[in-house]
């Protein structure tokens, strides 16, 4: 299966590690992965700020870049939900809408793809990590991503997933909302941090980097330098490597200090 990997702006710029982890997992699940060089943004930042052209024009760039692939995978529920909305933006151009519909129906969020659409299941991983998972809104409510991350993490021996209270309540990111109404966003992030930390995790996990940056940003500002905030793909990829003995210490792989509980 030939996969076009849509890396997403935030992963490309801020945490490339998630991109590499995603590709490692996709290859382990039997895919051939390509990264179209001229890909850009899904358009969501502009579109949700009221600039419709951001959606329609970038939809066409996406079509150009990815139409030739068997499937498209992105490590973000929020970007995939935006992409899934593309056909609806072209009600007046049925032919284009139909082409887009064919493409977006084979465009998947990474964890959903690995669970339901990949050629083969992921090999078992191993990683000692106490974690809690935040359900990002777009993935959860637009794409039905709920069991996928949990099911995948369960294949990783040693991952101890403790559910936090209100896991499905928004962390306050919301794209431009997090800047325009930063005071509310901060309070929402605070609530999220409180519920997450109540499970005493080594790491807070999620499937959308926007949310993860929001949560990590609040944690660090509160003075918490210890709790890691990771994409599920990072944990799964580390687990795969650790299981095959390729990395001595999982903590080094994720680029942060090895977690120690005192």
């Amino acid at each position: 299966m030939r996969i076009g990997f849509f890396v997403t702006c935030l992963v490309d710029a801020v945490r490339p590690r998630i991109g590499f982890a995603s590709i490692q997992l996709l290859e382990a699940a039997g895919c051939t992965v390509e990264v179209p060089a001229a890909q850009t943004c899904c358009g969501q930042p502009g579109f949700n700020s009221g600039d419709r052209a951001s959606g329609t024009r970038l939809a066409q760039v996406f079509l150009e870049q990815f139409e030739s692939f068997d499937a498209v995978v992105a490590p973000s529920g929020s970007c995939v939900a935006m992409i899934r909305d593309y056909p609806g933006l072209f009600a007046d151009q049925p032919a284009l809408a139909e082409r887009l519909q064919r493409l977006v129906s084979r465009t998947h969020e990474l964890l959903d793809f690995l669970t339901h659409h990949a050629p083969q299941p992921l090999p078992a991983g191993a990683l000692p990590l106490r974690a809690t998972y935040h359900d990002s809104c777009s993935g959860l409510r637009n794409l039905g991503i709920k069991h996928q991350p949990r099911q995948l993490l369960a294949t990783c021996d040693g991952v101890d997933l403790c559910e936090m209270r209100d896991a499905e309540i928004c962390c306050g990111f919301g794209g431009s909302f997090s800047v325009k109404l930063g005071e509310i966003a901060t309070r929402m992030a605070d609530n999220k941090c409180n519920h997450a930390l109540a499970t005493q995790p080594d790491a807070i996990l999620g499937g959308d980097l926007g949310c993860l940056l929001n949560i990590e940003g609040r944690l660090r500002r509160r003075g918490d330098q210890r709790t890691q905030v990771l994409h599920v793909a990072e944990v799964l990829a580390a687990g795969q490597l650790a299981a095959s003995g390729e990395l001595p210490a999982p903590g080094q792989f994720v680029g942060m200090p090895v977690t120690t509980k005192d």
Binding site: A21, A38, G50, S138, E183, I184, G255
Partner: protein, 495 residues
């Protein structure tokens, strides 16, 4: 009602810093949401009930003129006087006219959000007519001289101690923390007002075209007394509230209380038709309905049409994480939460509520519970589009979005811009790998750090790695992508 929706950010700042309010919001927290979940769980197929309710409301709005005229004809035939008001002010004048003609001196009210829109109490008060709110929450707020902060639980922002202090001040009674005692106290003060009033003013949850009736859904029983004890009853409600038949009412009542308070049915459902029958002991001698437009007809057939489906259950605010943190008053007008973020700009004008459509993460928690399936996030996004098209957003925001879009449409330039952005962020970052202050993005960095980028972009690193893979001539090199990325990250300045 005077709006403060234009100063939403100031309102938010004040509410987030109000410790007493925050404690009250936390205390009730997800109470309604939990009760709704339990109530929905007791039904076989709640989604089918939502579908049915949505269809009924959608159908009514498609032929609203027809159903309103049908309602008017039937209500008139049964002795109810139907009045039409284009604005809230007009509704107030109609009601005042009815009161004067009937020599009314004392009015008792049950809850009506439309009368909050029109500011009815102030107008009656200025005309020398005594008005008493009889819904417990509204009564508390009348004593406190505050507007409601929630459409079904108007005083939800008040603690029992605050209520106790209010009652002590106005009733001259000792403080008590006993809630049944507080209720009894209100009851004792309200009872004579019920018996002395010459006019009862109620809202109307629904208008039934088939029977010309007004349907009222309540829990406290005050609605029954307001609509049947005084000699004149006036229901004041929005033109969108009409339903074709009693069967339709029954379908809507399956979703309304469950969505609102998590009840299978409310304590009272009253269907009020016409005036007192000859020889009957109760019921009003005069029955009036004032149908208020106040901006609603402008929405028909337009981009916000679906918002008129609303049956005022409050589920959207009960599930909205923004509402739950700032409370209803911050929204600055009658309707708070997601539906308020749409109705306030729709009714008052977008320029008077610029921040409200922005006051959502579009998390869609509201959309998945709305009993009539209003696409609330989509409507908020539509209003954001209107703000953009009408030039109502700040110039720098419009400019930066255009610039960003232009870059995103030119992948090579976008890649260059990303590289430069990364450099700036890494340069700004402290030793802990966090950016503590980001000029232009203070909204973020006032309360949160910004985790700095790890190094060069994914795509730049990927290009290097592809070359390495090819050089090694193996499909899967011994060093896997992630290990190499880790090695790369270790070589570059560690964030």
């Amino acid at each position: 009602m005077d709006a403060t929706s234009h100063s939403f950010k100031r309102n938010v700042h004040a509410r987030l810093g109000d410790e007493a309010l925050q404690a009250n919001l936390r205390r009730f927290g997800g109470g309604f949401a939990d009760r709704r979940r339990d109530a929905v769980g007791r039904v076989d197929d709640f989604e089918a009930l939502r579908d049915r309710a949505s269809e009924i409301r959608a159908e009514v709005l498609t032929h609203l003129d027809h159903w309103l005229l049908a309602f008017e004809a039937e209500a008139t035939r049964r002795g109810t006087a139907v009045h039409w008001a284009e604005t809230g002010a007009e509704a107030n004048q109609i009601l005042l006219g009815i009161a004067r003609a009937a020599g009314v001196q004392r009015v008792i009210k049950s809850k009506s959000m439309v009368s909050e829109e029109s500011g009815l109490n102030a107008v009656l008060g200025a005309a020398g007519i005594e008005v008493t709110e009889t819904d417990l929450g509204e009564y508390i707020l009348q004593l406190a001289d505050e507007p409601p902060s929630h459409i079904i639980a108007p005083a939800i922002h008040k603690s029992r101690d605050e209520v106790s202090a209010l009652f002590a001040e106005h009733h001259g009674t000792p403080l008590t923390r006993d809630i049944p005692a507080l209720c009894e106290e209100a009851r004792q003060h309200l009872r004579p007002r019920f018996l002395q009033a010459d006019m009862g003013v109620s809202g109307g949850n629904f208008l039934i075209a088939e029977t010309g009736s007004v349907a009222i859904v309540t829990n406290e029983g005050n609605g029954r007394m307001v609509t049947t004890l005084p000699r004149v009853h006036v229901a004041i409600t929005g033109i969108e509230k009409v339903l074709p038949t009693l069967d339709d009412l029954s379908a809507i009542l399956r979703v309304l209380p469950r969505s609102a308070t998590g009840q299978d049915i409310t304590n009272y459902v009253s269907v009020l038709t016409g005036t007192r029958d000859a020889g009957a002991d109760d019921g009003p001698e005069q029955n009036h309905v004032i149908l208020v437009d106040n901006g609603r007809s402008r929405l028909l057939g337009g981009a916000l049409h679906d918002a008129l489906r609303c049956i005022r259950c409050g589920a959207c605010m009960n599930h909205c994480p923004v509402y739950q943190n700032i409370g209803g008053h911050a929204y600055g007008w009658v309707y708070p939460g997601p539906i308020g973020a749409i109705l306030t700009p729709a009714f008052l004008g977008l320029e008077k509520a610029l921040d409200l459509p922005q006051a959502s993460t579009l998390c869609a928690a509201c959309e998945v519970v709305c009993p009539v399936r209003i696409p609330l996030p989509e409507l908020m996004r539509t209003l954001r589009e209107q703000e953009m098209e009408q030039g109502l957003r700040p110039w720098h925001e419009r400019l930066s979005i255009r610039l960003w879009r232009w870059l995103a449409l030119h992948p090579a330039l976008y890649a260059v811009a990303t590289r430069w952005g990364i450099r700036v962020l890494r340069w700004l970052a402290g030793k802990d790998g966090q950016v503590h202050r980001l000029p232009g993005l203070d909204g973020w960095t006032e309360g949160r750090d910004m985790p700095a980028p790890q190094g060069s972009t994914f795509r730049d690193q990927w290009r290097t790695q592809l070359a390495a893979r090819e050089a090694q001539g193996k499909a899967r090199a011994a060093a896997t992508p992630v290990a190499m990325a880790a090695a790369g990250a270790a070589r570059s300045k560690a964030p």
